[in-house]
């Protein structure tokens, strides 16, 4: 068998999505953002909606998402992405509009914006990266930080009496009538990434059906912030994060 035989289309198991730019990613090796970006780029490409998609970046590590996916982007103030997306979708109802937000952005400073966007049933997609820590600013406690977890602002571990409890915002949002599809996924293995991709595709498809907001949480690793190797971070996530944040669909109004 020669190399040309191997390169046949039916043999291709991986290629860089066309909508992923050639810019060098600033994410740390092992970080989940790179995988989720790739999935989002694949979904937009496969649905053929590049010209109809507007993304809203958060403040946090993924503030630079606009450098990596080849679509029109708006960069929001910290936590406000759902407000931008609300107006964008209402003023351009034929477009696909999504926000991409971390746990500090969505579950702390932006709680009002996400809750009310969900409550109003905005026809947008929200991709929520939950790694239980503030990555960009150097590893401080997030609302989703686990009890006992050490961060730079909980150096002795998160103490419920001092710091409160991990916020299960995804379950909260599922209780709101304006949400259509709420799911929690991860991308730490190939099968998990495939499931996450199906979920993100479903969320984009639902956003075109006028049935309310679709929300995909990705439980993610921040191995730099967690001070673990990429492999150890994946293991730690499986053993600890998934207990607090179990994977699977939480709500689907079309089921």
């Amino acid at each position: 068998m020669n190399i040309e035989d191997i390169r046949k289309p039916e043999n291709i198991v991986y290629r860089k999505p066309a909508l992923l730019t050639d810019n060098i990613m600033h994410y740390c090796p092992g970080c989940s953002h790179g995988t989720v970006h790739k999935i989002v780029a694949e979904v937009i490409g496969e649905m053929g909606i590049q010209e109809k998609t507007i993304g809203i970046c958060p403040v946090g590590c993924s503030v630079f998402a606009y450098n990596y996916i080849d679509i029109d982007w708006q960069e929001a103030a910290h936590g406000r992405a759902p407000a931008l997306a609300t107006a964008t979708k209402r003023l351009c109802p034929d477009k696909y509009v999504f926000t991409y937000q971390g746990d500090g952005d969505l579950a702390s400073i932006g709680t009002a914006e996400i809750i009310h966007a969900c409550s109003r049933g905005e026809n947008i997609v929200v991709i929520f990266i939950n790694n239980g820590i503030y990555g960009m600013t150097g590893g401080q406690m997030a609302p989703t930080t686990l009890l006992g977890m050490k961060t730079s602002t909980t150096p002795y571990g998160r103490d419920a009496k001092l710091n409160g409890f991990p916020l299960k915002i995804t379950e909260m949002l599922a209780a709101l009538d304006g949400t259509a599809y709420i799911t929690r996924q991860s991308v730490h293995t190939a099968p998990a990434a495939r499931k996450a991709k199906n979920a993100i595709r479903k969320a984009f498809e639902y956003s075109d059906r006028n049935i309310g907001l679709s929300f995909v949480e990705i439980v993610s690793t921040c191995n730099s912030g967690w001070k673990l190797s990429p492999v150890a971070a994946n293991k730690w996530m499986e053993e600890n994060m998934f207990k607090e944040y179990p994977l699977g669909d939480i709500k689907d109004v079309l089921k």
Binding site: D72, E75, A77, K95, A112, I115, H116
Partner: protein
Amino acid sequence: MAEKVLMKGNEAIAISAIRNGVDGYFGYPITPQSEVMETLMKEKPWETTGMVVLQAESEVSSINMVYGGASCGKKVMTSSSSPGISLMCEGISYMAGAELPCVVVDVMRGGPGLGTIQPSQGDYNQIVKGGGHGDYHNIVIAPASAQDMYDFVDWGFELAFKYRNPVVVLADGVIGQMMEKVEIHPPKPRMTDEEIRTKAPWATVGKPASRERNIITSLSLDSDTQEAFNRKLHAKYSEIQEKEVKFTEYMTEDAEYLFTAFGCSSRICEAAVDMLRAEGIKAGLLRPVTLFPFPYKEISRLASQVKSIMSIELNFGQMVEDVRLGAENKCPVGFYGRQGGNIYTPEEVAEEFRKFNNIK
């Protein structure tokens, strides 16, 4: 003949928005300007022009909805009053940094803090000198009648798109609540998608294969890039100062004494000028219509002509600092103000004028 309708200043804002092809209004209730959103909701423009009207969960959210809408090249606006405007200042700074056009109406009430719900001009420094973080300017236009409220929406969008910059209509509780005759102009249609693509090629309307992706952002981590951008912003502000100053003069031609006042205070000062003129005192009034850019040159010119200038404001001395800069020490500059929702009468202004100028 154009139609004339009796309406409140706040209602004029709403009716003007619908008739001037505004695409979206996003707001949150606060006295004394809630009639803006109430009028819009009653008029249901989404059934006629297609204008989107949405009550947000907070002023923070409304201004960020405005950011999102403006990013799409749409004519979008909000309105609020002083405490609500404070909450919007973060968003306004981001919009100045992202060079986005929008119109924000501030119907000022008494402060600081929760303050009063009565009229004030206490937000002059906040709106004219900044408000949010960073080195930026709003374009600030100050209406003095319900007609101005109607006209300044369209003028505001013209300036906002010309310079890709937030425009603040700095009104006050008097102008918002007062009912006056307003001349209604023929309606203008909303911009078509094609017009937006031509007028706002930077807008995020979906990326076709034919162009690079559009990115609306105010972020740059590189010092030199940020400094170069800020130089560009300041060149824009200099151009605005050079080209867009607007003011009105009342009886200044032979004036020996000058009042400066904006918004509702200018209406009261006109009456005070008439009273003083009846006594044989040659008083006049300069009303800055644009507060940024400010009519420094015109004040300088008049400062060479008059014996004194007195700034009359519903605060304890904010615009007067700009008047002093304009007067360049050519004549004494005095001040009189009231606060808390108290409003001077023309008699009170004339009396304070006599005291300041030692006229018995």
